[in-house]
Symmetry: C2
Subunit: 221 residues, 2 copies
Amino acid sequence: MWILHQYPLCPFSRKIRFQCAEKGVAVECVREHPWERRDAFLLLNPAGQTPVFVQGAVTLSDSTAIAEYLEETVERTPLYGAGAEARAETRRMCAWVDQKFYSEVVVPLLAERMFKRLVTRGQPDAATIRGAQRAAEGHLDYLDYLLEHRRWLSGPAFGLADVAAAAQVSVADYLGGIDWDGHEETRTWYSAIKSRPTFRPLLAERMEGLPPPAHYDKLDF
Amino acid sequence: MWILHQYPLCPFSRKIRFQCAEKGVAVECVREHPWERRDAFLLLNPAGQTPVFVQGAVTLSDSTAIAEYLEETVERTPLYGAGAEARAETRRMCAWVDQKFYSEVVVPLLAERMFKRLVTRGQPDAATIRGAQRAAEGHLDYLDYLLEHRRWLSGPAFGLADVAAAAQVSVADYLGGIDWDGHEETRTWYSAIKSRPTFRPLLAERMEGLPPPAHYDKLDF
């Protein structure tokens, strides 16, 4: 079985877990806090980041590399789309959420609301949190716009862009970064994601000492 | 013919140009300064980033998506390696240079030495530049280590990891961010890159008003 080194609020680990669930790949999760920079973990991934995906002698890191590996090696439930152009759009949207949404929304929320609460015991910076919430607004406007024209984020079929976006959005939502008012298209999309049996285990998980808002795991939010 | 929207010091545009040259794909370059945020460019790529790659009705953005598209559609000179595990290593190394090297080394150098010189006419911050140079030291140590064990960055064959790394390293070198002393493995690797006819056009190009160091385009540096 594949072993995934991860922690509950790592959005890139959530992406791989959700993808594996969709493709029917069994995964055993092992807890890793990358900020502890354990020597044994740095040997697995010199970048010091979760997720790391291990089976026997195969050790993979970087969530994009892992996701492509799963797409190449597991035939069931292809998630990149049909044709090179559709796959380019899937990858463009993955890069959007993995890089832009992550750095503008998830990174400041993790720093202020998770890291300061659980690790450094510092006071969260309200201006930084407001900045992340404003950035989330802009991103949800863009997702709304896309979803007015498409059934799913990269086209007519559910795919890896939805997986990657749901991973980032769910962490931002857990950390109180998302105001759903006025984002009906994205809310409908996320409601459909939340009702997938493959996604529900992620919603059920908690980071100890850091409860999510009441609406977080509700289908009606 | 493909049209590439880019500017000379955009490392991700260099990656696509170098990849296209290796694969024999003709490209016409069109100048774009993404920091001007022109409306017509934002319509091509709402992320507002170069490169954007256009041919007829096909518009692609995000350099990873473009690179994968080229690999899928152009049979000549495959650059990702043979087998899913080799391709995962290629992609891990691409992510390393595109994300870590870029954000820790290239972003501060572009901000202090290009943007302040050509756009805002501000005084570069010496401490930020030193920080980027120190980060480059650490990255070159890691590349040295890899190249002690491998002929090329992701394995025995030249591939997209070399293309992506050469793109980032060449921009950092152009901006005076790299001290080659003590990095013989990476220097030998980069010397081999510099002597490729597919890479030489990139080395010959200049950003107006911003000359590179004397060693920049020399094969012996």
